[in-house]
Symmetry: none
Subunit: 155 residues, 2 copies
Amino acid sequence: MENKSISDIIEAYLKEILGDSAQVEIRRSEIANQFDVVPSQINYVIKTRFTIQNGYLVKSKRGGGGYIRIERVNLLDDVNVLNSLIQAIGDSVRERDAFDIVRTLYEEDVVTRREGDLMLVALSKQALAVNDGKIEDQLRARILVSFLNRLRYES
Amino acid sequence: MENKSISDIIEAYLKEILGDSAQVEIRRSEIANQFDVVPSQINYVIKTRFTIQNGYLVKSKRGGGGYIRIERVNLLDDVNVLNSLIQAIGDSVRERDAFDIVRTLYEEDVVTRREGDLMLVALSKQALAVNDGKIEDQLRARILVSFLNRLRYES
DNA sequence: GCTCTTTTGACTAATCTTGACCATTATTTT
DNA sequence: AAAATAATGGTCAAGATTAGTCAAAAGAGC
C-alpha cells in the first residue's frame, strides 16, 4: 500500500488538517514546499479530490495574504449546496462524477453502503452504455437527480 | 494436473497474498515482472479467474500510483431467485413488469423498502424516457439485471 | 486437425507531474 | 492618486507513468 502518489499523500494531509473543523485555510506555496512539488500540483489535488461531488467547497484569493480555503459541506442538508450540486450535474454527468457523489452520500451517512452500491450500479457505464456516449451521460444525470430528489424529500 | 499454465500460477499467487485479508492491491507491472510475462497477462488472469461469479470484485486506477485492487466478497444464497428473475427479464422489460419485480424483491425481503424505492426511481419511465420506447425497455432491463447481480453478494 | 485457452504485443486510455505563462490583490514608490 | 513592484493563486499543455483492450500467434486437449 506504499504505492501512493504524492497527490494521494497531499490529499490525505489536507483531510487530516481539516479534521473535524468545518474548513481549513492553506497557503498554496507552503504546502507545495512542504511536499516538494510545484505549486500547481496543489491545484491539481484540489481540482480532482475536493470537488463539490466529493462534498467540498473551495474558495481562494490571490495576491498578498492570499489563501485557499477548503470547506466540508453536506450535500443534502443545505439548499445552496444541493443547488450547486444539481447545477454541476446539469443535464449530463460522467460516471466518475456520479460515483463521487454517491460515495459522498455514503460517507455522510445519507445512504447505507448497500443503498449506495445499488445507486452505483444504476449509474454505471455498464448499465447505461448506449451507442451514444452523450445520451448515456444525459440518462445518468436524470437518474442521479431523481435519486437526489428522492433522498431529499423522503426523510 | 501437473500441467499448470503460468496463468494458473499467477492466480494461485494472487490468492495466496490475498490470504485472509478482505482485499489486496497490486501493481500490474510488478507482478508481470515477477513472473516474467507481459503486463496484459495479468488482465487476462483477472478477467478469467477473479470474476464476480467467483466472488471477487476488482477495481483499478491508471497513471502514477496506479494499482489493481482485488476484493473478496461473500456470495449470498438468494441466487436461485435472482437467476430466475434475470432469466425472466431477458433484454427488455416494461416499467410495469420491472415494478412488479422490485415489489417481489421487497416482499421476499431481499431488499429493504428504501432500497426498493431507490431501485424504482432508477427504473421509472421518468428517469429513463428516451425517444425510442424499445431502447428504454432495453435500458431498464440492463439496469434491473445490474441490480440483481449486485444483490448476489455482500461486501 | 479442430477448438478452446493461453500468451504476446501494439495500440489506447486514464492519471499524475512539471513548468511556462497568466490574473489578481496588496504594498511601496513616485 | 497613480504607477510600479511584490506576493500571492490559476490555467493549460506537454511529458511521464501507470493500466486496459483487442486480436493475432502459440499451445493444449481432444
